[in-house]
């Protein structure tokens, strides 16, 4: 159930964030947003969301990964499930499967992600 569930969306593409936000909110989720890695970390610590969806590549090639690692490193945010949105052009270091060491995320999904698919992924992880 989505009641009271909070999702944090981190992506530098404001329009995409707005689209995803609209979909999630219309299905009962509370949504907060950030447009960069550092801002995302701050928001996560402040809002304690139930799930974070982050884009892999924001300002720099590693900004998404850096955020994921930072979230795992911090006690306050360690337990929050992470969905990472990648694109075909992303060079994923060493693995394609989530890996606690290098890729501390719960799920990889590929861009472009239709909003319905995002919804499904979110529901699945929060179930």
């Amino acid at each position: 159930m989505s009641e009271g569930r909070k999702v944090l969306l981190v992506d530098d593409d404001v329009d995409l964030v707005a689209v995803n936000r609209a979909v999630l909110e219309s299905h009962g989720y509370t949504v907060c947003v950030a447009h960069s890695g550092p801002a995302g970390l701050q928001k996560a610590k402040a809002e304690r969301p139930d799930l974070v969806v982050l884009d892999v590549m924001m300002g720099t090639n590693s900004e998404g990964f850096d955020l994921a690692r930072a979230l795992r490193a911090d006690e306050a945010t360690r337990g929050i499930p992470l969905i990472m949105v990648t694109s075909v052009h992303t060079t994923v270091p060493f693995r394609f499967e989530p890996d606690p060491q290098f890729l501390p995320v719960d799920r990889f999904v590929e861009k472009p992600l239709p909003p319905e698919s995002l919804l499904k992924e979110v529901e699945r992880l929060l179930a």
Partner: protein, 497 residues
């Protein structure tokens, strides 16, 4: 035989001998001169430019026959010398011959004897001269051949492409200096050597062997990596006129630079595709939200989505247009129409075009031109300059929050005319400033996330400024705004007047 009559010099201190010989020889058609001793003979010899035959007595005052022989030999090694003397002995005969005399006629002698000796001597001399000429010609020809061969060899070794030739059995019979540089281990082996032994590249070996062993004539082409470099290798058969295969020749050309260019190009294409894909996906999603109703129906929100999609699409169109311009510049297809231009007028146009946008954000947009006549005309393409200024003013407005200020100023110093765009917006860090001219680079932070842009604007600006031999400078600090200065050469500076 000789076209001109042979010339004979008779040297004898006895006048009777001289006249007698002269009569005999002249009647045979020879040209005859006489001298009474060695010294006179030398003078006559030099003055006449040589004689075909010199007939000389031995015992004469001033210079005797023996000395004359030696002296004449020194002058002309082909000179034919006949000695006549009453005091004939074996010793003198041997001595005279040693010194270079051809023949020896003891006095008295009959006219026939004299003539016989002279005729034989002349024949011999003619043969000798002809043999000498032939020898010289052969030497010249040999020299030419050697030069040709050494010319070819020199050319081969000066080539920058590596050349390798193998015979029918696959043994290397020729390699040039370039090949030894490309494959240093190969040059350790003296030729001939089986190619598989000397060349440690299985690909190259199999290529060459394939060509040599093929039934029909085969030409092979392949890219082969050798260490950090890439080579284009072409191998062809070496054929005899009859069509039989004698061997194979492989030429190695360094295409490393070309390969790097290819890679850079495909990376660029990759980047472009990525830059286009994301916005298009977002536009699609935005439209989907409104069309599918998956997010419920909220007219205000839907309207906002559509407006955003439209803005995004417009930015995308600018991106494509910028890309086309950049490519045109890169491939040299972008033509500038340089003319005398008034920088003030151009800047004014560009600033006026942006005044509404500035007003929307309540930004103060000011232009300071001063006395237009004080600003020297520049030699430039008007559209290009306008594009540059528009871009800078556009950026200044974009990156300055509401209520800020953008000041534009134009001045000149005789050499350059300059436009300065100053804003009190968000500014940049040194790291960001270093990258702002890079393709697709955009400063990413919470403020700029809401600012549409392609990341190509300043890239284009820089290219256009470079094409005008102008200069662009940036001064900026985070939170303190930015100052962009662009200078264009004035007409007088550009044309050197």
């Amino acid at each position: 035989m000789a076209e001109r009559p042979s010339r004979i010099l008779v040297v004898d201190d006895e006048v009777g001998m001289r006249d007698g010989c002269r009569r005999i020889l002249a009647s045979e058609g020879y040209e005859v001169e006489t001298a009474e001793d060695g010294q006179a003979a030398m003078e006559k010899f030099r003055a006449a430019g040589g004689f075909d035959v010199v007939i000389s007595d031995l015992r004469m005052p001033r210079m005797g026959g023996m000395d004359l022989i030696e002296a004449l030999r020194a002058l002309d090694e082909d000179a034919l010398l006949l000695v006549i003397t009453a005091y004939a002995t074996i010793d003198t005969a041997v001595d005279a011959t040693k010194r270079g005399a051809y023949g020896y006629i003891p006095k008295p002698f009959t006219p026939d004897e004299l003539l016989l000796h002279v005729r034989n001597g002349l024949e011999k001399r003619a043969l000798r001269i002809e043999a000498k000429a032939l020898r010289e010609e052969r030497e010249r020809r040999l020299l030419e051949v050697a030069f040709e061969r050494s010319k070819s060899t020199t050319i081969l070794h000066c080539m920058t492409d590596g050349v390798l030739v193998v015979n029918r059995e696959g043994r290397i019979v020729l390699r040039n200096a370039a090949l030894s540089r490309i494959l240093p281990s190969c040059s350790d082996h003296p030729l001939p050597v089986p190619v598989a032994e000397a060349v440690e590249l299985p690909e190259l070996v199999s290529m060459v062997m394939e060509v040599v062993q093929a039934e029909a004539q085969v030409i092979a082409s392949r890219e082969i990596a050798i260490g950090p470099c890439t080579y284009m290798v072409n191998a062809a058969p070496v054929l005899e006129p009859s069509g039989e295969t004698l061997g194979a020749v492989a030429v190695l050309r360094d295409i490393t630079a070309l390969k790097k260019l290819e890679i850079a190009k495909s990376m660029f294409v990759s980047m472009v595709a990525h830059e286009l894909k994301s916005p298009l996906a977002t536009i699609e999603s935005s439209l989907d939200i409104v069309l599918s109703g998956i997010a419920g129906s909220d007219p205000d929100r839907d309207r906002q989505m559509l407006q955003r999609a439209r803005l995004r699409a417009s930015t995308l169109r600018t991106l494509v247009s910028d890309l086309l311009n950049l490519t045109a510049i890169q491939t040299g297809n972008f033509r500038l129409k340089r003319q005398h231009a008034d920088l003030c007028a151009i800047v004014r146009e560009a600033v006026d075009a942006q005044s509404d946008r500035a007003a929307e954000k309540r930004i103060e947009l000011l232009l300071e031109c001063g006395d237009p006549s004080a600003v020297d005309p520049i030699l430039a393409d008007t559209n290009a300059v306008r594009s540059v200024v528009s871009n800078l003013v556009d950026n200044a407005i974009k990156y300055t929050p509401e209520g800020g200020h953008v000041h534009v100023r134009v001045d000149s110093n005789g050499l350059y005319a300059r436009v300065i765009v100053k804003d009190d917006g968000i500014g940049m860090s040194p790291a960001e400033r270093d990258r702002i001219f890079d393709e697709f680079f955009r400063v990413k932070n919470d403020y700029t996330a809401h600012v549409p842009g392609t990341g190509l604007g300043l890239t284009l600006v820089r290219r256009l400024v470079d094409m005008h031999q102008g200069r662009i400078e940036v001064d900026s600090a985070p939170g303190k705004g930015s100052v962009f200065s662009v200078s264009f050469p004035t007409v007088s500076y550009a044309t050197g007047m």
